[in-house]
């Protein structure tokens, strides 16, 4: 399925747009994580794999565990470690 992945923080520097359309083979959040890691690897950003592992995924309303299903609307966000305040 096609996922619309919103990028935040350090991930914004890797892509021109604030969201990325990603082909995901699988229907869980962990599949999105794997697809995004593969995508960045393909873009020559192997150094980001640790950041992807440290990131969470979320819908507009809640964090999503890796075992959860991708939201029906195909939209989610990747949240690198946070540093507000």
């Amino acid at each position: 399925m096609i996922v619309q992945l919103a990028l935040f923080g350090a991930f914004r520097d890797l892509h021109r747009e604030p969201t990325l359309l990603l082909e995901v083979s699988g229907d869980t959040v962990s599949a999105v994580r794997a697809s995004f890691a593969a995508h960045l690897l393909g873009q020559g950003h192997a150094e980001r794999s640790a950041l992807i592992r440290a990131s969470a995924f979320a819908s507009d309303q809640a964090l999503l565990h890796d075992t959860e299903a991708i939201p029906a609307d195909g939209r989610l966000a990747i949240l690198p470690p946070v540093s507000g305040g």
Partner: protein
Amino acid sequence: MIGSDPIHCSVLAIDQATLDPAAALTFVSDPAFGGLDLFVGKVRSHNQGREVVGVSYDIHRSLALTVFRQFADEVRGQFGPRIKLYVAHACGRLGIGEIAVVVAAGTPHRDQAFGACRALIEAVKHRAPIWKQEHFADGDSAWSEGCALCGEEPGQKMSDPC
């Protein structure tokens, strides 16, 4: 004591509004409250020895508003129910001395106000979907290291400054 919503949460685009500590104090005031504590976070001129000229905040706005309210509900459970809470965070690029975050708590007695205000800013700093990019005097910029939100999977944490 309280008629309307005792919790205020906002994310303000810095080119449209500025954070207002006075508004926070007004919001958490109540005739029954003797103690108000307010925290103001500002952009400071140095970090870890490097001169900073500004900070850009990136925020997942809808999720931030949801979790701000969750944090406030948690704090209310711990220090309330007689409490009012205020959280506002700036989004966009700020200069030195500009206000990045305002948190306030009003309660009958001061101990609860201090405890609640502290608990609320700690939650915002460690668990809200907010990212800080520091701009240095030498022209370099860097996203700050932060707190992983996927803490239920300990093996996936980076070295954590939280």
